[in-house]
């Protein structure tokens, strides 16, 4: 402990200088967000780094066409957790895996702060929603499939799937291709970064048709609103 502290001492002065010049001040959330925005726009400057906006857009709307998720307004905790999972290999993410490897802890914190702070409307999905799948998905989302030990999704993802901060992501308004692929990844591939394996068990116990149905249902809803206020009164379980 002491050894490492003394080893760090030579760094203290330059850091102090940088701080006083305002070049970076980690304590300042505003600057962290600005730094994150820059990474989102340009990457972190290291060779091989890619700008997040190429796939997630600057304001986090994602790209339904290539199955890139919307990440606008997910919590910092969740975004960091996912990127760390991709880096550690605990989250199956074939596309992201090539992108985040050279991000430092601080880059990750910064870019998470940026995407947690932005809001953006939903982009059109790749194809129209199938009403019969949406209806089935809604039943599963609001009432669960308890016979197979699948609780209602809204119990963990919040009313209508708007998320329960900080660990439970919103899923309403997410693009349907992405939702379906994540459920398949939890069930069969190696997305194994979910705490206590909660999602792995649930995704495995659903049938393929049920996975499609919940994906269509949650994708058909608007994403959580820009100001973080509650949606118009939730209809949890009021209707079938």
């Amino acid at each position: 402990m002491d050894r490492s502290r003394s080893a760090m001492r030579p760094l203290v002065l330059p850091i102090f200088l940088l701080l006083s010049l305002g070049i970076f001040s980690p304590a300042h959330a505003g600057n962290l967000i600005e730094r994150g925005k820059k990474i989102a726009q340009e990457g972190n400057g290291l060779p091989g780094s890619t700008a997040c906006m190429e796939c997630h857009r600057l304001h986090g709307g994602g790209m339904p066409l290539i199955g890139s998720p919307r990440i606008a307004g997910q919590t910092k905790t969740y975004i960091e957790h996912e990127i760390l999972g991709v880096k550690a290999g605990t989250r199956y993410a074939p596309i992201m895996a090539g992108v985040v490897n050279n991000l430092s802890q601080k880059d990750i914190r910064a870019v998470a702060a940026w995407y947690a702070s932005v809001r953006t409307p939903k982009l059109p999905d790749v194809s129209p929603y199938d009403p019969s799948l949406v209806a089935l998905g809604k039943r599963i989302a609001l009432k669960g499939r308890w016979k197979k030990n699948v609780p209602a999704c809204v119990l963990c993802h919040g009313p209508e799937g708007r998320g329960i901060p900080p660990h439970f992501p919103y899923i309403k308004g997410q693009n349907k291709g992405y939702i379906l692929r994540q459920l398949i990844s939890f069930a069969f591939l190696k997305r194994a970064d979910d705490p206590q394996g909660l999602m792995r068990g649930i995704a495995r116990r659903l049938s393929q048709k049920e996975r499609q149905a919940v994906a269509e249902y949650f994708a058909s809803l608007p994403p959580p609103p820009a100001d973080g206020q509650p949606d118009p009164p939730s209809s949890r379980k009021a209707s079938p």
Partner: protein
Amino acid sequence: MRHPLSLALASLLGALLPLGPLVATGQEIPAPPVSFSPPPDRKIPSGPFGDLVRKGERIFTQTGKYAGKYVGNDLTCESCHLDRGRKPYAAPLWGAYVSYPRFRSKNMKVSRLGERIQGCFRFSMNGVAPPLEGDTIRSIVAYSFWMAKGAPVGTPLVGTGMYHLPPSPHKPDPFHGKKVYEARCALCHGADGLGTVSGGEIGFPPVWGPRSYNKGAGLAKVGKLAGFIKMNMPLSKGDSLSDRDAWDVAAYVDSQPRPADPRKKS
């Protein structure tokens, strides 16, 4: 699920055994537990009775919204009676309906189901008892009746009430329970036990503190809580805690502050 399975097996064996020799002993043989599944939602009839059943379900799942004046905390009936009152070992309504009237040592009286539900509002919901003949109780009783359709009356059903966890060989240890809580429960209910909110609405229910059940509630007994946790928690991962962890985490939750028992207030 060792215990319920053996129960199911026992009931199967019971059904297969010839009755003759049992009857011949002249002793009263306790009826073997019977399995029961509640009817699907689509069986709720239309018309005034069906309307009352649906109203009962709404109150049950969104208690604060539809029976707010009787509720004093952030729980709903469904916070404990999972799957809208249908889940075995989470005190399902179908099991309750066929078990009343019943003598309860809690108040040394024979209670009707409606009176039992009044108790839930007073203790588990930390609120006030709705009138017995009012809409709130009537509709929850109707919902329970509908759900018990086809269940034998007065016969033990597999999954009624809470699971009876075998007595702990050790004294339940709240200090170890705290570790279990932090590893398995805090993700949802918060390290402070106060629950989690989602866009201004209640997300995960508080398990202690001013907005949780009071000290008069059934779950304020360590054994009951341990049985509930064992079979139901973490959500979708029932029967994953060891018996010992279930006892210890129940002891920890029970050691935390919550509203007083209203019978002992004045």
